[in-house]
């Protein structure tokens, strides 16, 4: 997976080009590019220490494994998902959300907005990965849902889930910064800004995050393949923290590479 082996990943647009959406006609964008890149890199550096970020990633690893085991209910309880087995995707998401919120509340000393962004990114990634795996010709039953969740336990499926999670997280972090400064970027002085342009920009940022996070996709697959399937490890939050410290570092390097001139 390494940058060493891949060289440059595909990039529909590099960040300077994307940021130009927000500033008129190609005027200097370097500062904003630097800021957007740095806020993403800084967030990732801090995120690996955030208990909600780690718990979210851990649940994304363990929930499919619990769904694939014969003791699903006990498995869910062990992960902090309380109540009866979920009968629908919304019920599963609500239980997942509550489990993360409890961790967020317990982290009284160090809770920041990063934990909240990780929580929403994980919900989004899980819902997006599960939606196409549910039956479409009939109303999914609880058993259908369990099977769909269990199908995410393969190393390839986890790679996809982990990539979505990291991508949504960085996307939220970038908007956390950009949206606060929107009033300085849109308006007559900026000459070109409009609702349509902002939406095109948002789409380009989303793609930027999806593409940048591709870099950790294969690592995620290999990590789960080695630790769970080859070595039979029951993965703990500490294991996930170690995984995150590498995958996040890959993503930070990729973000830095994408701030180069296009």
């Amino acid at each position: 997976m390494g940058h060493q082996r891949l060289g440059k990943l595909p990039a529909h647009r590099l960040l300077p080009e994307i940021v130009r959406y927000l500033l008129d006609g190609g005027t200097p964008t370097a500062d904003l590019v630097d800021q957007v890149t740095e806020v993403g890199r800084d967030a990732l550096r801090r995120a690996v220490k955030d208990p909600v970020f780690i718990e979210a990633l851990w649940l994304l690893v363990r929930l499919p494994q619990a769904a694939g085991s014969s003791a699903f209910v006990d498995g869910l309880a062990a992960l902090g998902l309380k109540g009866r087995p979920p009968g629908s995707l919304p019920e599963l998401l609500a239980a997942f959300d509550s489990a993360l919120e409890r961790v967020q509340r317990r982290a009284a000393g160090g809770a920041t907005d990063l934990g909240e962004m990780a929580r929403q990114a994980a919900l989004s990634a899980l819902a997006e990965a599960l939606q196409p795996r549910l039956p479409v010709l009939w109303q999914p039953t609880a058993e259908d849902l369990r099977h769909s969740v269990a199908s995410l336990r393969s190393a390839d499926a986890f790679a996809d889930l982990a990539q979505r999670f990291h991508s949504r997280f960085v996307d939220r972090v970038i908007h956390y910064f950009i949206d606060r400064n929107l009033h300085r970027m849109i308006g007559p002085e900026r000459a070109t800004k409009s609702l349509n342009d902002v939406e095109a920009f948002n789409g380009a940022i989303r793609r930027h995050c999806d593409e940048a996070s591709l870099i950790m996709r294969a690592f995620a697959r290999d990590w789960l393949g080695k630790n769970f399937y080859r070595d039979g490890k029951a993965l703990t939050q500490d294991d996930v923290r170690r995984f995150a410290s590498y995958s996040v570092e890959k993503l930070r390097i990729e973000l830095a590479q994408r701030k180069g001139t296009s």
Partner: protein, 620 residues
């Protein structure tokens, strides 16, 4: 997260990092006052509810005194969340000290405000002033109401009150909390107008004051306001013999998902979020030992639909007297709405979508919704975020709704009569109707101002201009671009851990240029012969016993283990640079009670090969 100690019932703090708060006495700095209740009602209030009122007043006033940091949100908003520890004297400590009660308080307030709460309740050691002192202007009227409702003076609470009083012929007690005289005068004016229109016997108004006194309230976010409001509602409902009371809020604002990326967690206000109502119901039911319900009859209505209720009740001419603006300090005689805050924008969209613009002139707003120049300050930001958000909602399928708006999830299991899936569907439909209302206002505005737009007479920073302009036309990438990018990565086989030996420089070399030298090299060198010969002969790589390896290295076993730890640390960066999944046995493998060997999965290359450009590896 900043820590705060709040010592209540004290004239002065006992320690320098604490603040003192008191509802009476010489250190009084919290003002709690409820007007116009009947003498009969007052006689019925148990001590526990007076405790609750005081606790709510302390929490609300402390919320305003303790800063959440600046709008810069340094370090990802670490100052936004506060850790608040209250010490409060109460009349019934046995109840308040229960773990379950404290959990309910901390959980509900935590979700409402993003803060972390803890409490220490102690028995009041000095006599409290008579409860009567909280209640002013007692009256002798009947206290027999059908409904007890919270009344802010905005469109939603006014429309809800009309729905109950006019459309359903119910008598209603409106509890109005205000921290500003401007807001209170609006509530009073609306009540007077309703009474003047024949509702004298159906409307009762109980104004309530809870404010900081003699201290500066610097934090305006007031996330705990609805906790105070609900506690007041419970007390008045109890006094009136009711087990329920009502908040009026349209469903979209009640759930209130963030419209912009910087509005994270509780910064999108959760004042009337269904989750807050369910938490408060649980707390209040525990408090009174019987089921208490908080109702929101407008939960499944949009702002447009709520506004239409005002017309259905035949009171459209009073619409302009209601006020929804969150910035009372900016109000002038001519403009009672700033037109820039989220509430003003939401209200104006609702009024226009309901076709009631004739009952609320545009001049009520300092900034016109569609045609005003919003380039000043950040006026444009909220308007653009709001429209952009609902445009996105409108373009979202039901299947994608929870994917793209995951903040909705915290509401879907908060409706006791609905499953999470049913609630999700209803919320989706609600938001779709709101998105259509926003679109209808924009498209109607386009028709009305088409000529001005064509002549370029509207300000470039007006919402209408901004909605239709386009600076750049983005050509999307090919449809299979994303799947190809993923497939490209997924075809990669797991990387092989490769190394080479540079015998002349006495170092181990890896693909990314990392090297192992000195003691680390010597360990590898000591294990290399076994590795090479076993690989050459196709047999298992043998382990070297720890004392034998230490012997080969000429050091003690303990020193050898230290050097092995350093070696493992030295190769750790390879996980990032080469994408290798490493554990402690990935390079030098240790089998307990057997010994050490170079991991058989390693692949030794020649020095020239390891330094050659990286070949691309693609799997099957």
């Amino acid at each position: 997260m900043r820590q705060f100690q709040i010592e209540c019932g004290a004239a002065a703090p006992s320690r320098p990092d604490a603040i003192a708060m008191d509802v009476h006495g010489k250190g009084k700095n919290v003002n709690l006052r409820i007007d116009c209740i009947t003498r009969t009602m007052l006689a019925n209030v148990p001590e526990l509810l007076i405790d609750l009122l005081e606790i709510a007043a302390y929490i609300y006033c402390a919320d305003q005194r303790l800063s959440r940091g600046t709008a810069q949100l340094a370090n990802f908003g670490e100052s936004w969340r506060r850790n608040l520890h209250f010490t409060i004297p109460v009349r019934e400590p046995g109840f308040w000290q229960q773990d379950e009660v404290q959990r309910l308080l901390a959980d509900t307030l935590g979700f409402l405000s993003d803060d972390s709460y803890s409490f220490e309740f102690r028995k009041a050691t000095r006599p409290f002033l008579s409860r009567d002192l909280y209640f002013h202007d007692l009256i002798d009227a009947s206290a027999d109401y059908d409904v007890v409702s919270m009344f802010s003076g905005g469109v939603d609470s006014f429309a809800g009150a009309l729905q109950d009083a006019v459309l359903r012929n119910r008598s209603i007690c409106l509890v109005g909390h205000s921290s500003s005289t401007k807001v209170r005068s609006i509530q009073q004016k609306l009540v007077e107008e309703l009474k003047a229109r024949g509702l004298e016997r159906r409307i009762t108004y109980i104004p309530v004051w809870v404010t900081n006194e003699n201290v500066r309230a610097s934090e305006y976010t007031q996330r705990t306001r609805s906790f105070l409001f609900a506690c007041l509602g419970l007390v008045i409902a109890y006094m009136s013999g009711k087990d329920s009371f009502t908040f009026y809020e349209n469903g979209v604002v009640s759930i209130n998902p963030p419209v912009a990326g910087d509005v994270v967690g509780g910064r999108a206000t959760r004042t009337t979020h269904p989750r807050v109502f369910r938490g408060l119901e649980e707390l209040f039911s525990t408090l009174l030992d019987r089921p208490i319900t908080i109702e929101n009859p407008l939960q499944w209505l949009t702002k447009r639909e709520v506004t239409t209720l005002v017309q259905e009740a035949g009171m459209a001419e009073l619409l302009a007297l209601t006020n929804s603006c969150t910035r009372p300090r900016s109000w002038t005689a001519a403009h009672k709405h700033c037109g820039a805050c989220s509430q003003c924008i939401d209200r104006r969209f609702g009024v226009l979508a309901a076709g009631l613009s004739e009952h609320e002139p545009a001049s009520n707003y300092k900034v016109d919704l569609l045609t005003a120049d919003r380039s000043a300050s950040d006026d444009l930001r909220m308007a653009v975020s709001y429209v952009s958000f609902f445009r996105r909602v409108g373009a979202t399928s039901k299947e994608r709704f929870l994917v793209d708006f995951p903040e909705i999830v915290s509401a879907i299991n908060c409706f006791p009569d609905l499953s999470a899936a049913e609630a999700g569907d209803r919320i989706y439909n609600l938001f779709q109707r709101q998105a259509k209302a926003v679109e209808s206002v924009i498209t109607a505005g386009l028709k009305e101002h088409a000529a001005a737009l064509f002549r370029n007479e509207l300000p470039a920073a007006s919402l209408l201009s901004i909605s239709f302009a386009r600076n750049s036309v983005e050509a999307p990438p090919p449809a299979n671009y994303d799947s190809q990018a993923k497939a490209f990565i997924d075809r990669l086989a797991a990387p092989v851990f490769e190394f080479a030996i540079d015998q002349s420089a006495k170092q181990v070399v890896f693909r990314d240029g990392t090297t192992l030298t000195d003691a680390s090299f010597r360990i590898v060198e000591a294990l290399l012969e076994n590795f090479r010969s076993a690989k050459a002969e196709g047999r298992e790589v043998p382990f070297v016993r720890p004392p034998d390896l230490a012997d080969r290295l000429g050091i003690t076993e303990q020193s050898m283990r230290t050097q092995l730890t350093r070696l493992r640390d030295a190769i750790e960066p390879l996980a990032v640079s080469l994408g290798l999944v490493l554990d402690q046995d990935s390079f030098v493998e240790n089998r307990p009670r057997v010994g050490y060997r170079l991991n058989p999965r390693l692949c030794e290359l020649s020095l020239a090969d390891i330094r050659a450009p990286t070949p691309r590896r693609e799997g099957g």
